[in-house]
Amino acid sequence: MANIEVQNLNKCFGDNVALSEVDLSIPDGSFVVLLGPTGAGKTTLLRLIAGLDHPDSGRVVIDGVDCTQRTPAERNVAMVFQQYSLYPHMSVKENLAFPLKSRMLSVTESEINRKIDAISQTLRIHHKLSNKATELSGGEMQRVAIGRALVRNPNIYLMDEPLSSLDAKLRSELRIELTRIQKDIGGTFLYVTHDQIEAMTMATHIGVLEKGKLIQFGTPREVYDHPSSVSVAARLGQPRINIVDATIFPGSPRAAKFIGFRPEQLELGAEGLQTLIKRVERLGDQTRLHLSLGEISIVTVTDPHTELKAGETLSIKPKAPFFFDSEGMRI
């Protein structure tokens, strides 16, 4: 396992700036999730670290060694993609053994068997070892693909949306499993997703990317509780944070252009501004209230069995809100 340092990385594809001045430090044994919308540069960054693409400028340093010009094999990284790329004519066991059979590694047969045994137990595919890869369900195939990365002992595991093609139930199971595996083996993970739940639940650190820039890096709690900008604040949390003009609520600092408060960051029924309840949405474990304040829509959450009804008024007051300047940066 290793520390990875990305220094001032830049990458363009034609006129399109894919990455711009990205600095990122991935500590040994951490689970770093890169979060961002489509086109933010997440996959490009992953591919530059893997060595599948080369940067226009900047460096990729693995354990103090500049690897920017090295091939993927020389960097000793393991990758898992969204599409489980297994060898269809091979059995599960042969698929898992494949990365170990490289001549460069010279792993003994008994060592290979021991590793496959351990990994297939962890991933709960032990009973399928002799099946053909094509005889597996989607979830099983993805676990084999993950297993094929895990049998190796690389500097870093790179994963590009590995769960996005699975159904919701399996995804939530594998989220827990992946977190557990990462802790067990103490590996360094760099994981790309656009799913905020995956980022929040699995990461030791989240890197939020937008338009090729790394706009915040920190623990999930830091990023959620202390977003550095409007766009980071809007990326985490469901329902999404309310962002309105700072002048709407009294007491905003003078430099503030916007005020942001998550649905749960509102005092209801206290002294504050009068809103109209447009819709009461009962989700079972919580009830969402869709409010209107003049032309502005605001969402809040409240007790599941609230007596409040559409058409009634409700006064609201932000508690410990965030303030942002005209650039959208946190004050």
Partner: protein, 367 residues
């Protein structure tokens, strides 16, 4: 607008019974959800209501009139499918005009209707664009628009948001519901997504294997599931189950035992003798470091911002608790579980049916 009643509806495809014996009523102006996993019979039910499929037996009444064997076009219903089904060589306006032209409306009336629908859907600026150049959301809006211009008595939608990605789906779901709030047209909506059903529906029918498991308003179904299937299908994470083994219960019992621990339950109303399961929602479990409660071990915690989901092991079961994100739970550490006595369901393990109690009897009697 319309009130739709389904009575003892059944559909067989050869040996296969797609819908067994469905009875429910859709009130005028309701946003009504048919919810269930794939193959449960929800789409077949909708297709029979629309007249695209004839029932094997049973009745479909629209505003009191028996339409069971009437053709689709005699039912005055508009259908919106998952795939947008637009004419790719026509522009937005021409796509919207199409159903009206075929009904022989005047040019002036058509223009008036299209202007109205475009305003409702906020696609005025797109009227002259070819549909091929539209985003997924705009295509869905046009598909809806084509249903709305006909001014039908009801809208039928089969997973209309299924093809959209998660973030955008949420947005469209809100938009669709807001549209319904403006128009108040009776809408029947098929989905396999429980959150979508909870979020948008006035009422929900939950189906499984061709059988209606429960019928009612979303919060009642969430709070007091009629069966284990419903308890498991609705809610994320789902309701937790704890097997209590073989058990005898009498009316008036208000405590059950798990190992040596007493668990308070809502006052039971049934005589029961059999394998009993207890069900509790994640937010009704408290994690305690005091000596009270049922001993468990922390397996995992998933941070979600304001709350976290903590997985714990009790005997051979894994339960999930939704608790505040401010506390830390070390993996592998012991913790005690306390259940909220007001919110516990009991299920007959073999039939999956909920036992009636003071707390759920009203809901169960209703659906």
């Amino acid at each position: 607008m319309a009130e739709i009643e389904i009575k003892n509806l059944r559909k067989e495809f050869g040996e296969f019974v797609a819908v067994q014996d469905s009875t429910f009523k859709v009130e005028d102006g309701e946003f009504f959800m048919l919810l269930g996993p794939s193959g449960c019979g929800k789409t077949t039910t909708l297709r029979m209501m629309a007249g695209l499929e004839l029932p094997t037996s049973g009745q479909i009444l629209i505003d009191g009139e028996d339409v069971s064997f009437k053709r689709a076009r005699e039912r005055d219903i508009a259908f919106v499918f998952q795939m947008y089904a637009l004419y790719p060589h026509l522009n937005v306006r021409q796509n919207l005009e199409y159903p009206l032209k075929s009904q022989g409306f005047s040019k002036a009336l058509i223009n008036e209707k299209i202007a109205e629908v475009a305003a409702i859907l906020r696609i005025e600026q797109l009227l002259n664009s070819p549909v091929g150049r539209l985003s997924g959301g705009d295509r869905q809006r046009v598909a809806l628009g084509r249903a709305i211009v006909r001014d039908p008595c009801a809208f039928f939608m089969d997973e209309p948001l299924g093809a959209l990605d998660a973030e955008f789906r949420e947005e469209m779901a809100e938009e669709l519901r807001a549209l319904h709030d403006r128009m108040r047209a009776t809408t029947i909506y098929v989905t396999h997504d429980q959150l979508e059903a909870m979020q948008m529906g006035d009422k929900i029918v939950v189906m499984n294997h061709g059988v209606i498991e429960q019928f009612g308003v979303p919060q009642d179904i969430y709070d007091w599931p009629a069966t284990k299937f419903v308890a498991d299908f609705i809610g994320s994470p789902a309701m937790n189950f704890l097997s209590l083994g073989h058990y005898k219960l009498c009316p008036g019992d208000s405590v059950v035992a798990f190992n040596d621990h007493q668990i308070k339950i809502p006052n039971n109303l049934e005589d029961f003798d059999g394998h009993l399961d207890m069900g509790v929602r994640p937010e009704h479990i408290t994690l305690s470091r005091e000596s009270e409660g049922i001993p468990a071990t922390v397996l995992a915690s998933e941070y979600l911002g304001t709350t976290q989901i903590v997985s714990v092991q009790v005997d051979r079961s894994v339960l999930k608790a939704r608790v505040s994100a401010t506390d830390d739970y070390m993996i592998g550490s012991p913790i005690n579980l306390v259940f909220d006595a007001r919110n516990i369901s009991l299920f007959d393990h073999s039939s999956g049916k909920a036992l009636r109690s003071d707390a759920n009897q009203e809901v169960l009697a209703g659906g």
